[in-house]
C-alpha cells in the first residue's frame, strides 16, 4: 500500500512542446517513428535515424543550454558535444523512450562543467570577470521592457549562485520542469533538487527588486 517512490519518472511538462513547435523536426522519412525506434536504429548505426532524433531534439537542447547559461555563447558547441556523447553512449540508455530526458541530462552536465571551468579560470585569475548575461540571448524580442528587466535581474542574480543551485532553479522556473524532472535532469535526488531550488529561491527573494514596485508611487 505504501507507494514506492525510490525511482522517479520524468513527467512531461509544457516545455515538452518545444520540440514539436519546430516544423522541420517533423520532416524526413523516419519522422513518424518513436524515440525508442529511432534509438534502436541509431544503435545499429543508422545515420538517418540519428539525424531524425537530432532534428527532433536539437531545438530543445539549444534552448536548454542557452537558458541555463544565460547566454548563447558556445551553445552550439555544447549541443554538438551532447549529441556526439549521446550517440557514443547510446548503449547506456536503459529506457530508449526517455531519450529526451537523457539528452537533457547530458546537456546539463556539459553546461555545469563549463560553468565550473570558467569559475576555476576566474579563481586562478585567468579570466578577469564573470560571463555577462546576454539579455538578447535570453529574452524574446516579443518581451516587453518590464519582462526584459525582470529577466535581466534574475539572470544577473543567478550568476552569483553556485552552478548546481542556478541550474536547478533555471530548470524549474525558466524551463518549467516539474521537481521530479529537475532531479532527473540534474542527476540528483528529488530532495537535493528541492534544496537547491529552495536555496536559489531564497536568495532571489532576498535580493530581487520588483520592476513593478520600482515604478509604483
Amino acid at each position: 500500500m505504501v507507494p514506492e517512490r525510490t525511482r522517479l519518472k520524468l513527467v512531461p511538462t509544457s516545455a515538452d512542446g518545444a520540440a514539436s513547435s519546430h516544423a522541420h523536426a517533423n520532416e524526413g522519412p523516419l519522422a513518424h517513428l518513436s524515440d525508442a525506434q529511432l534509438v534502436a536504429l541509431t544503435s545499429d548505426d543508422d545515420l538517418g535515424a540519428f539525424e531524425t532524433l537530432y532534428r527532433r531534439y536539437a531545438p530543445f537542447a539549444l534552448n536548454l543550454a542557452a537558458r541555463l547559461q544565460g547566454s548563447a555563447t558556445d551553445v552550439e558547441d555544447i549541443v554538438h558535444d551532447a549529441f556526439l556523447r549521446a550517440r557514443a553512449r547510446l548503449d547506456d540508455l536503459r529506457e530508449p523512450s526517455a531519450f529526451r530526458a537523457w539528452l537533457g541530462s547530458i546537456v546539463v552536465r556539459l553546461v555545469r562543467s563549463r560553468m565550473r571551468r570558467r569559475r576555476l579560470l576566474r579563481t586562478l585569475g585567468l579570466m578577469p570577470t564573470g560571463e555577462p548575461v546576454d539579455l538578447d540571448a535570453v529574452a524574446s524580442p516579443a518581451a516587453d521592457p518590464e519582462q526584459r528587466a525582470l529577466l535581466a535581474q534574475v539572470y544577473a542574480l543567478l550568476c552569483t549562485l553556485h552552478a548546481n543551485d542556478r541550474i536547478a532553479w533555471t530548470l524549474r522556473y525558466v524551463e518549467r520542469h516539474r521537481l521530479e524532472a529537475v532531479a532527473e535532469l540534474s542527476g540528483c535526488s528529488l530532495a537535493t533538487a528541492k534544496r537547491r531550488i529552495a536555496r536559489a529561491q531564497h536568495f532571489l527573494s532576498e535580493h530581487f527588486v520588483s520592476p513593478l514596485r520600482e515604478s509604483s508611487p
Binding site: V2, A15, A88, L124, V138, S140, Y173, R195, A198, F208
Partner: protein, 332 residues
C-alpha cells in the same frame, strides 16, 4: 507557498528561441562531419592523458598548498557562489558578524514582500561584483566530503568523512545544511540508520530551517521503509505542520492514511482519508480514498479512538510538533 508567489514560472513566450532552422542545420553539419570521420562511437584516446594531466595538476596544487603551510587560501575559498556570500549587498552587509550571517541564511522564509527591501541594483553591478565578493569567515571552503557529496560522489564523500573523523563526528557538529548532505551520503551508501539519525536532528533541532520540511518528508519515507509506521506517520504529519501548503502536503497526508491503515488503525485512517478528501478533493488519491473510506466503514477496525484529535497541521512548526493521533512513542 511564498516561493511560488514571489517567483512564478517565467512564461515561455518571453524567452528567446534558439532552435532556429539555421542553427540546427549548422550544428548538424558539424555533427555529420564528425560522424563521417568516425569519431562518434569511439572513446577519445586523449582522455587518459587528460586524466593523468589533471591528476598531476591536482597533486601539484596539493603539494604547493602543503608547502605554503596553508598561508594562501585554497581555490574554493575565493569562489563567490553561495547565497550567503552576497551579504555584501545592502540587505546583508559583509561586515555582519559570522553568527548573524549564519542565522540570516537559515532563517525561515518570510513573506516575500519583506524580501524586496534591497536597494535597487543594476543587473550589471551584480555580475561585475560577483567574482570579487569577499567571503565572510563562516563561508570557509567546503569540506572535501561536502564538495564530493554536492557533486553526487557519495561513496567518495563517505570515504573522505571516515578519513577525517568519521561520519558520526561530522553528524554531531553539522548545521542543518551539512546534515542534509550527510543524509544524502548515508542514503546513497545504504546507511539508512545514519540517515534517520541525521534527519531526526534536522527536524528536532532545526525546525525553523528551510530544510526542515523536506527532512521531515524524507524521515517519513525512511521510517516507513524500516517498518516504523507509527513514527513514519508522525514524520509525515510533521511535514504538513512545517509546510502546510508545501509541494508534498498532499502526498504527506496520503502517506499518513497509508501508515494508519497499515497499522490497522482504521478509524484513524478513515478520519485522515476524510480530511484528505476535504483538503484535496481533486487530489490524485481522492478516488482511492473514497473507496477506502467505504471499505473501512463496512469493516470495523481493531482499534478505535473516539477522542482522536483533529488532524490539522499545526501553525507553529518549530514550537508545536505534528499531531500525534496514534499511540506511537514520541518521535523526537
Amino acid at each position: 507557498m511564498s516561493d511560488r508567489r514571489s517567483f512564478s514560472e517565467i512564461p515561455a513566450e518571453v524567452l528567446e528561441d534558439h532552435g532556429d532552422h539555421e542553427r540546427v542545420d549548422r550544428v548538424w553539419k558539424r555533427l555529420h562531419a564528425n560522424l563521417e570521420g568516425g569519431h562518434a562511437r569511439r572513446r577519445s584516446p586523449i582522455a587518459p592523458w587528460l586524466v593523468v594531466s589533471a591528476a598531476t595538476f591536482a597533486l601539484g596544487i596539493f603539494v604547493g598548498a602543503k608547502w605554503l603551510g596553508g598561508a594562501a587560501p585554497g581555490p574554493v575559498a575565493t569562489v563567490s557562489a553561495e547565497p550567503r556570500v552576497t551579504a555584501k549587498t545592502p540587505a546583508a552587509p559583509a561586515a555582519k558578524p559570522t553568527a548573524e550571517a549564519e542565522a540570516a541564511l537559515h532563517e525561515a522564509p518570510r513573506a516575500h514582500q519583506s524580501h524586496r527591501v534591497a536597494a535597487p541594483r543594476r543587473a550589471d553591478d551584480v555580475v561585475a561584483e560577483s567574482p570579487a565578493l569577499p567571503l565572510p569567515s563562516a563561508q570557509a571552503a567546503p569540506l572535501e566530503w561536502q564538495r564530493l557529496a554536492d557533486e553526487g560522489q557519495y561513496v567518495q564523500a563517505l570515504a573522505s568523512l571516515e578519513a577525517t573523523g568519521g561520519f558520526d563526528a561530522a553528524l554531531r557538529e553539522a548545521n542543518a545544511e551539512e546534515l542534509m548532505s550527510l543524509v544524502d551520503v548515508a542514503r546513497a551508501t545504504g546507511q539508512r540508520d545514519r540517515a534517520i539519525v541525521a534527519l531526526r536532528r534536522i527536524v528536532s533541532e532545526h525546525g525553523s530551517d528551510p530544510n526542515a520540511p523536506v527532512a521531515a518528508w524524507m524521515l517519513g519515507n525512511e521510517l516507513a521503509k524500516t517498518g516504523a509506521l507509527a513514527e513514519a506517520e508522525q514524520a509525515f504529519a510533521m511535514y504538513r505542520a512545517l509546510s502546510p501548503s508545501g509541494d508534498f502536503a498532499e502526498d504527506a497526508l496520503a502517506r499518513q492514511v497509508d501508515m494508519a491503515a497499515e497499522q490497522g488503525n482504521l478509524d484513524h485512517a478513515r478520519k485522515l482519508a476524510g480530511q484528505y478528501l476535504k483538503e484535496f478533493p481533486d487530489g490524485p488519491r481522492s478516488a482511492d480514498m473514497q473507496v477506502e473510506i467505504e471499505q473501512w466503514s463496512r469493516s470495523p477496525g481493531p482499534s478505535s479512538s473516539a477522542a482522536e484529535p483533529e488532524v490539522r497541521p499545526s501553525e507553529a512548526p518549530s514550537a508545536a510538533p505534528a499531531p500525534e493521533p496514534s499511540a506511537a512513542p514520541p518521535l523526537y
